[in-house]
């Protein structure tokens, strides 16, 4: 008595997902290309390391970065104990500064400011730049013209000089004192840098606008806003991500330069402050003690170099991953 199993699939159309394996999405494909690139993986590891350092600075730093240890000025680190005639102590891994504060703890806290300066303005820049660039590219006409004239002027302004002028002039105003002067710095960085992003997005939109899929979307009556956000924006994400990866280190360098010139972050003196010191400010301190305690200068300098190098590796990797045609030509 063999019962015949009813064939379930025969009387209906085979489902699409049974026939076609869903392919990897573009993002997944780019990701797998990215993690095959050794340099960018190293870059990502370094960046994550510094992000963790910045986030958990209060747990990871061995000492209070503001505590002044009297009589322990300019101590060399234990591994370079014979460098000066001041005795090293093993608990100060990178020695102490001119006031007897632990250099390692200060460098760890410096990571916090540098990471914030790298990422927060970049987010603002991307937001403003993308919105204005999309609008200018999509609407065109007068909006577009205005944007282009504005970019001409901002490009002519040497940007570092603009930051310096803003920081010097507005430092003592109430705005300049918020968040130890960082808010003003964020604002100045954003004002100059959104323009580049806007120009990039505008160019992308102008070329994508002519593509068949946008025309098709328009033919079936898709609203403008939906075309902009669902059709054009995802397609221009690649260059945008790459430019963001190169913006972050640029901002970190800018902060370091401004701090080094003494117009960046105001060094905090009370330990309740979230932003204690920055790498640039540390280098300014270290400049005067270059012979007695070179690690005060060297440690933040190495950190800046490492972070920037890591972002360059990641940026190059992202460019190759997101646009394989460009591979090896840059």
């Amino acid at each position: 008595m063999a019962t015949i199993q009813p064939a379930t699939t025969n009387n209906k159309i085979v489902e699409l997902k049974d026939v076609f394996k869903p392919g990897k999405s573009l993002g997944q494909e780019a990701w797998s290309r990215l993690i095959r690139n050794k340099a960018s993986v190293i870059g990502m590891i370094i960046i994550s390391f510094f992000i963790i350092l910045a986030a958990f600075a209060s747990v990871l730093s061995p000492m209070n970065p503001l505590e002044i240890h009297s009589g322990k000025k300019f101590m060399p680190p234990p591994f370079d104990a014979g460098a000066t005639n001041i005795k090293a102590e093993p608990e100060y891994l990178l020695g102490t500064d001119s006031l007897g504060r632990d250099v390692l703890s200060r460098v760890i806290y410096g990571a916090r400011v540098s990471m914030m300066v790298g990422f927060l303005p970049t987010a603002i820049i991307l937001l403003i730049g993308t919105s204005v660039g999309m609008l200018a590219g999509y609407v065109g006409g007068r909006v577009d013209n205005l944007l282009m004239r504005l970019t001409d002027v901002i490009y002519a302004f040497p940007d570092l000089l603009f930051f310096i002028i803003v920081m010097v002039a507005l430092r003592d105003t109430p705005i300049g004192q918020l968040m130890n002067g960082l808010l003003l710095l964020f604002a100045a960085l954003a004002i100059v840098n959104w323009v580049g992003v806007a120009r990039l997005v505008r160019g992308q939109v102008l070329s994508l606008k002519q593509k068949e899929f946008v025309e098709a979307a328009r033919c079936i009556g898709v609203k403008d806003s939906r075309i902009m956000f669902r059709h054009i924006l995802p397609n221009s994400l690649g260059p945008l991500i790459v430019s963001a990866a190169f913006t972050v280190p640029g901002l970190i360098i800018t902060e370091a330069i401004l701090g080094y010139l003494g117009v960046g972050l105001r060094p905090a003196t009370d330990s309740t402050s979230f932003f204690i010191t920055s790498w640039g400010t540390l280098m300014l301190d270290g400049q005067t003690a270059i012979n007695s305690q070179p690690y005060l200068l060297l440690a933040p300098a190495i950190c800046v170099a490492l972070v920037v190098l890591a972002f360059t590796f990641l940026g190059d990797g992202l460019r190759d991953a997101l646009d394989p045609r460009m591979r090896g030509t840059q």
């Binding site: 001409d152 040497p158 105003t173 330069i257 080094y260 010139l261 280098m283 590796f313 030509t329």
Partner: protein, 333 residues
């Protein structure tokens, strides 16, 4: 061509006016005035401050002050017309009494040539750094491209990547600590900049980033050219390798490289202020940093304007150089 040049030069005017307006507004919104001195120095009393403000025209409304800065104005006390920025007058320095900004930047000390002025020093350092970048960077790029995916290529790429990413002042810190502080090979405190040997260090530090960028750009544009049909044709017809490389490849591959030289020089001249400060180099950049430290607003403003003009002219030079070296590009619209 000539009309294009004039149109572009004409465009410089609104750009420079906007730059000066922005700088002017930011500078004037700074709290405190030029007569505020440090608390420990002798204070300017109210009556003197008032007459000083009248003498320098600082009691007038903002727009009038700006016009005076750009075009010029009659002095209310001496009744004579003082020309402004358009005559090259950048106003008196607030901190170095009795000297104007243009005097500080462009005048050499007694008996010296223009090249001994602050501006002259900066220009010379910038040109030297650019020359180093070009004469070392381009050959590195060519060798890397010709020997793609060999050790030479990887070494060149490593130099290029690290040179582009490590900021020049961080590089300066490394080099100063290694060569001056540890090895005592070089002197950092220099009194006599007429000796050539002292120029090497700032030149290397300043030019290294541009060198790396030039090498990378040369390599990538050479790699593009190597795959072109006309290069294969040149090889196929039996030309010597040297002729192929120098005549057929290089001539085309250098076009993008040459176009970045203008902005690169502007970047070197304007970007040098940290390097100049670190090496106590007597140039315009160090004067600028000192002005920041002293809050010498008119000096900061004047220097910013000169920098902006340099950048604008450098960007203009790109388009012009393009026409001369690449006959495929025409500027007439």
């Amino acid at each position: 061509m000539v009309t294009y040049l004039f149109r572009r030069l004409f465009w410089l005017i609104p750009v420079l006016i906007t730059v000066s307006a922005v700088t002017f507004i930011i500078m004037r919104s700074a709290p405190g005035g030029p007569w505020d001195t440090d608390a420990d120095r002798r204070q300017v009393d109210a009556a003197t401050a008032k007459s000083l403000a009248a003498y320098y025209g600082l009691d007038k409304p903002m727009w009038r002050q700006f016009m005076a800065y750009v075009i010029g104005d009659t002095n209310s006390q001496t009744k004579e017309y003082v020309c402004g920025m358009i005559c090259g007058n950048l106003g008196p320095s607030y901190r170095q009494r009795g000297r104007t900004v243009q005097d500080i930047l462009f005048s050499a000390p007694e008996g010296k040539t223009f090249w001994q002025s602050r501006f002259g020093y900066s220009i010379r350092l910038g040109v030297m750094a650019l020359a180093m970048a070009v004469f070392i960077g381009i050959p590195i790029g060519i060798i890397a491209a010709l020997k793609q995916n060999t050790i030479a290529d990887y070494v060149a790429l490593f130099i290029a990547t690290s040179g582009i990413s490590v900021p020049s002042f961080v590089l300066a810190i490394f080099l100063i600590i290694i060569f001056a502080s540890k090895l005592h090979w070089i002197d950092i405190v220099v009194d006599d900049w007429t000796q050539v040997k002292y120029w090497f260090m700032p030149m290397i530090v300043l030019g290294f980033g541009t060198l790396a960028f030039t090498a990378r750009l040369t390599r990538s544009s050479m790699l593009e050219v190597i795959r072109q049909d006309y290069v294969r044709t040149a090889r196929a017809k039996g030309l010597a390798e040297r002729a192929v490389v120098f005549v057929h490849m290089l001539k085309n591959a250098l076009i993008p490289v040459i176009t970045i030289l203008g902005p690169a020089l502007a970047g070197l001249v304007t970007g040098s202020f940290i390097i100049e400060t670190m090496f106590s180099f007597p140039g315009m950049g160090r004067a600028y940093v000192q002005a920041i430290g002293q809050r010498d607003y008119s000096m900061i403003m004047g220097t910013t304007l000169i920098y902006a003009a340099l950048v604008a002219i450098a960007n203009l030079s790109v388009d012009l150089i393009y026409v001369f070296i690449d006959p495929r590009i025409r500027l007439e619209e």
